[in-house]
């Protein structure tokens, strides 16, 4: 599990190792995961959130953009507005449902992109080794020298507010840790006997990477990346909270939390709802990632 402030285990490169696969590895993973009730529950919550995001237009009872000032800030439980209304009189339930689209997309997409780019960089650095490795990893170290929140805010602050810029900033934030893990695992795999044997038998680098390296390194990197989703959710919504991500009037949980700050005296429960959603999502991804790591027997 990772956290917002540390973003990554202090030094993943020191602790991560490729998975030792034995026959029936995946059966074991499924068996172990099946025993982890907490992780299954978290997985179900994540699934429900994803379904809400996909089917938002069918589920939302009202138009999330349509507001009327005469029904501003109604409390939770109002007739027709089960979760109340926001500062512009828009239905909170509908906005929270549509918000799942933005918030999940903003949280998950950067990790997926960083997984692709970071793995590529890390595997190249780890496999090629030598001076290339040093050059790549020292550059990565520079980005490591920034606390994650600071880097995200700095980049999106310089690029300017907007969904695209926030996604780019978050991707840049997550590439270094993923690349580091990928490099560490690849370096270990590269020195295994079977890779040595493949090289001795004349296999080309790309073939070795495809056949021998990828299968052994993607698992740990994937598990590590899933642990970052929770951080990414909090950071992405945080950027919108600061006014650097999704812009009004779009329904996004972090942005909603910000615009509802004025309502904490009149409708505290309504004002706290979007944050509750971020919290539920983040903790579910966290527990799910933990369960996945235990089931896949990855040491991070």
């Amino acid at each position: 599990m990772t956290s917002l402030s540390s973003l990554m285990p202090q030094d993943p490169a020191k602790t991560i190792a490729p998975i030792e696969k034995s026959p029936g590895y995946w059966a074991g993973v499924i068996r172990r995961f099946g025993k982890d009730k907490l992780a299954i529950a978290a997985g179900i919550v994540v699934l429900i959130l994803l379904l809400i995001a996909v089917f938002a237009p069918l589920l939302a009872p009202m138009d999330p953009y349509a507001g009327r000032t005469i029904r501003r800030l109604r409390p939770v439980g109002t007739d027709g507005f089960p979760l109340g209304t926001d500062e512009l009189g828009r239905d909170m339930l509908s906005r929270l449902i549509y918000g799942a689209r933005y918030s999940l997309m903003m949280g998950v997409a950067p990790v997926i992109m960083a997984f692709g780019i970071g793995s590529l960089i890390g595997i190249i650095a780890g496999y090629v080794g030598g001076k290339t490795n040093t050059a790549i990893m020292r550059t990565i170290d520079v980005f490591y020298a920034f606390p994650s929140v600071l880097l995200a805010v700095a980049l999106s602050g310089a690029l300017g507010a907007g969904i695209q810029n926030a996604l780019v900033s978050l991707t840049v934030v997550f590439i270094p840790p993923i690349a580091r893990v990928a490099e560490a695992v690849t370096t270990q795999v590269r020195n295994r006997d079977y890779v040595e044997a493949a090289r001795a038998s004349g296999a080309k680098a790309l073939t070795i990477i495809r056949v021998h390296v990828l299968g052994n390194v993607l698992g740990p990197i994937f598990v590590y990346a899933t642990g970052l989703i929770s951080v990414s959710m909090i950071l992405a919504s945080g950027l919108s909270f600061l006014g650097l991500g999704v812009r009004p009037p779009e329904p996004e949980w972090g942005l909603m939390l910000n615009t509802l700050r004025t309502a904490i005296y009149n409708q505290p429960l309504v004002a706290a709802l979007p944050g509750m959603m971020i919290f539920i999502t983040s903790i579910s991804f966290n527990v799910l990632a933990d369960g996945l790591r235990n089931a896949m027997d990855v040491k991070v």
Partner: protein, 317 residues
Amino acid sequence: MLIYLGKRLVYTIPIVIGVSIVCFALVHIAPGDPLVSVLPPDASEQLKQQMMKAYGFDRPYYEQFLLWCWRAIQGDLGTSIATGRAVASEVMRAVRNTLLLAVVATFIGFFFGLLFGFVAGYFRNSAIDKIASILSVIGVSVPHYWLGMVLVIIFSAQLNWLPPTGAGPGGSAEWRPDWAHFRHLILPAVTMSVIPMGIVARTIRALVADILSQDFVPALRAKGLSELGIFGHVVKNAAPTALAVMGLQLGYLLGGSILIETVFSWPGTGFLLNAAIFQRDLPLLQGTILVLALFFVLLNLIVDVVQTAIDPRIQRS
């Protein structure tokens, strides 16, 4: 030890240079004219050129970078475009407030993190362990800006016990060690402390469990050492890691305080960053980020050196 210190210092230099390049580049990845916030929209081309020249934006990048570095070394981070004041003095004033908040939060978080971590590590799989584990998962998963809002709702809006925003009464931007100012510190510091608490608790729990499973523990017990004596050995073994985590957490809190400072209108670096971003005050943005990042690099350095100094095992390896 001296050799290690020297090596570690040398290793820091390229990082510092890299960090400076990134901070410098921030202004140049920004879209549009860096002077957009000071010039009127109908400014003549001539005025534009003059201002570009005055701020040095007309020179080649490497020249600008070297000049910027040279000035930064002398403590000159340029002039804020929005206010016209020196960036260095603005940043330093804000850093003091952020540092105060982050240090207090680190101590609170550390105290409870250690407590939960030790108890959970000692009594593994007990009810206390479960509770401590749940608390630490919550600690690392909660969006702290939301937690801050919830605390404001409870303790300011509902109970009216503590002030919701600011560093002191009447919008005081200078923190003083008196009760009125202290009241303003409580909510933001507690909110911020939740992050290190969760991480410290997790780290210490795993560490203590690992130490207790090592061979020397039954050996100590066999020779008749009291449980308290064994506890002393556990603390001694856990201390270097705990200190390292503490130092790094302080750095993360310093750099990541913007969200909490926004919630509580705390007049620190985060607040400054916020202003810099929305007024497109790029020199201020650049300067603040440079100072915070260098703080983080320095803390990393201190942590590594202190850890090596107090843990003989690291030196041997």
